[in-house]
């Protein structure tokens, strides 16, 4: 049962402009990818992904967007808020070579996830994307994890230049095709003495076992187009009210699965069937809103 619990805000950290991390001393027992419902009883109860979760503490990282999140940004350490959860499906914990592709306020959940992946021995490449330098999140925190971190900005003000998907495409498609087409080894490539197998070897080096994405829907839609045959899981957002699978506001077409129960993390075989993916979502009334 997902009982409601009312907690003091233990810590508030300003991350970047309009994004703060709120931490709570509570044994949440969440899995990476799951979310909580948060309310201050002043109007609104909203879903937020878990950005960190240890034995006795958890955090959520929130972007100030509208009425509810603005009010939350007025709160201080020690103020009370009430939560339900953790809810929903979680990411598959791979122990292979994985690629994480993130954008915007949906990136921090990959911090919690990366820690769990590292425990299981995965080799992580994380593309951390934002429009510009000031909007990049968790650069330091990810940096300390010792993973293969690729920061990228659309305008090139920090890290690579390009969107998360541009970088993913480079890692997944171009190199692969390049290697298949051009068997000529590159300088510093160990396989240069075996030109015949150079392509094969390089392909293996860059091959990911699993791809995960958390970010704007259109980012994930574009990413889907460059993934090829690799298994993946995407973290989706839809309007949520009950979070326990009865109100129907978070269902996705045409399967009718509930993102608060069967989601928010959906596997490839489900994502491929979604007709609304990248096309529309529903607002609080259930009306379709085009992307």
């Amino acid at each position: 049962m997902n009982k409601r619990i009312t907690l003091k805000i233990a810590k508030i950290k300003d991350e970047i402009k309009d994004i703060k991390t709120f931490s709570f001393k509570y044994k949440l027992n969440a899995k990476p990818g799951q979310f909580i419902m948060l309310t201050d009883f002043e109007g609104g109860e909203k879903p937020f992904s878990i950005s960190d979760c240890t034995k006795d503490e958890f955090s959520i990282t929130i972007k100030k967007i509208g009425e509810f999140t603005s009010r939350l940004f007025q709160k201080d350490v020690g103020d009370l808020v009430s939560i339900r959860g953790a809810f929903g499906s979680s990411f598959f914990i791979s122990n292979g070579k994985v690629l994480l592709v993130g954008g915007g306020y949906a990136v921090p959940t990959f911090y919690f996830f990366s820690k769990i992946l590292l425990e299981s021995g995965a080799n992580i490449t994380l593309i951390n994307g934002a429009r510009t330098k000031d909007e990049l999140l968790f650069v330091e925190k990810f940096g300390k994890l010792g993973i293969n971190l690729i920061n990228t900005t659309d305008d090139g003000t920090f890290g690579e230049k390009g969107t998360s998907v541009d970088i993913a495409r480079k890692l997944l498609v171009s190199k692969l095709q390049q290697n298949q087409l051009v068997s000529k080894p590159q300088l510093g490539d160990n396989s240069r003495f075996h030109p015949a197998t150079a392509g094969w070897k390089r392909e293996n080096v860059d091959k990911f076992d699993f791809i995960y994405a958390s970010g704007p829907e259109m980012m994930m839609k574009a990413l889907q187009g460059v993934i090829g045959e690799i298994e993946y899981e995407f973290l989706f957002e839809r309007y949520m009210k009950c979070a326990i699978g009865i109100c129907g506001s978070c269902t996705v077409d045409p399967l009718g699965i509930r993102l608060c129960v069967e989601g928010p993390v959906l596997p490839k075989k489900i994502v491929e069937q979604l007709t609304e993916f990248g096309k529309y979502h529903r607002d609080a009334s259930g009306k379709r809103i085009l992307y």
């Binding site: 309310t39 109007g43 909203k46 129907g248």
Partner: protein
């Protein structure tokens, strides 16, 4: 699905006596589909209003030991978009659909009925009993037998679909209200809507848990109330009853039938037993029939009417 679960409801042959009630997993065509795929015999749409409604601010649900409070606040995409979802559902499924509509006066109910006439829906259900919009609309219409009569009579004149009246449990004299609905021409009754409303308090913040303060009760705790009201009503009316309120397992559904229900709604139990709850209950009904020597649903006896 099992032949022994087949039953008739207002001229339709349905493959299971289980109904998805209004307001539960029914905002979209795909939400309706998933209940059908999991064994529901009839599905009901969210209560649709003339204009879209975003509903109340959260929290809109609150759990307690015996069930739930909810104050969704009749969120729905409006009659036009809502019917488009229903039509899309009907393109994919032959499962009968009850179109639930909500209004506060005869005129609006008539406008809604005209819309529903043009849709692929199979039944029209008048939600006369939402307890969660008191601040906005006051006491539910279902509290007054005169209002119930007036609205149903007007709607019946123009509705091309059978009309179901959804009644409130929060009344003193359910029988006279049910009779008023029947004499106005209602083809069936749906009972009960949520009970109360009630409230819950967060003791740390000293605030009502629901932002709307009040919410209707659903789930196991309301089953005895539903059974009593259906039982009271059944022998005094000659129209079928869709019985609902806290049904969680096969035996609960059988109880509803024994009290007088023709078919049975299963809503909140989706939370307790998953969306597969319909098939689970279907199987449990068959097990019950096996164990107790009933060949089909028609053989399940109704309780004898005793004076209450």
């Amino acid at each position: 699905m099992h032949n022994r679960l087949k039953t008739k409801f207002l001229g339709f042959e349905v493959r299971s006596p289980l109904v998805l009630p209004a307001g539960i997993m029914d905002m979209s065509f795909s939400a309706l589909s998933i209940s059908t795929e999991n064994g529901a015999g009839i599905v009901t749409s969210k209560s649709l209003t003339l204009e879209p409604r975003t509903g109340h601010k959260g929290p809109v649900v609150a759990e307690f030991e015996g069930g739930f409070l909810n104050c969704m606040g009749l969120c729905n995409p409006g009659i036009v978009d809502g019917l488009a979802e229903i039509n899309e559902f009907k393109e994919r499924s032959d499962t009968p659909v009850i179109v639930s509509v909500f209004a506060t006066n005869v005129n609006d109910f008539l406008k809604l009925t005209e819309f529903v006439n043009t849709s692929k829906g199979d039944f029209l259900e008048l939600n006369l009993s939402c307890p969660n919009v008191f601040d906005e609309f006051g006491i539910p219409l279902a509290a007054s037998k005169d209002e119930v009569h007036k609205i149903i009579k007007a709607v019946k004149k123009i509705s091309e679909l059978p009309v179901i009246a959804k009644l409130s449990p929060n009344v003193y004299d359910i029988v006279s209200i049910a009779k008023a609905a029947e004499s106005a021409g209602a083809d069936a009754l749906c009972m009960i809507n949520t009970v109360g409303p009630g409230m819950l308090i967060d003791t740390k913040m000293v605030k009502p848990v629901l932002f709307n303060k009040l919410g209707g009760l659903s789930g196991p705790c309301i089953k005895p109330i539903a059974l009593k009201l259906i039982y009271q009503t059944y022998s005094d009316v000659n129209i079928p009853i869709i019985g609902m309120g806290g049904v969680k397992c096969g035996e609960d559904a059988i109880e509803m039938m024994m009290a007088g229900a023709s078919i049975v709604g299963v809503g909140t139990a989706i939370y307790y037993r998953g969306i597969e709850v319909f098939n689970k209950i279907n199987n449990e009904i068959i097990e019950f029939m096996d164990e107790n020597g009933y060949e089909n649903l028609q053989e399940i006896p109704k309780l004898e009417k005793l004076l209450m």
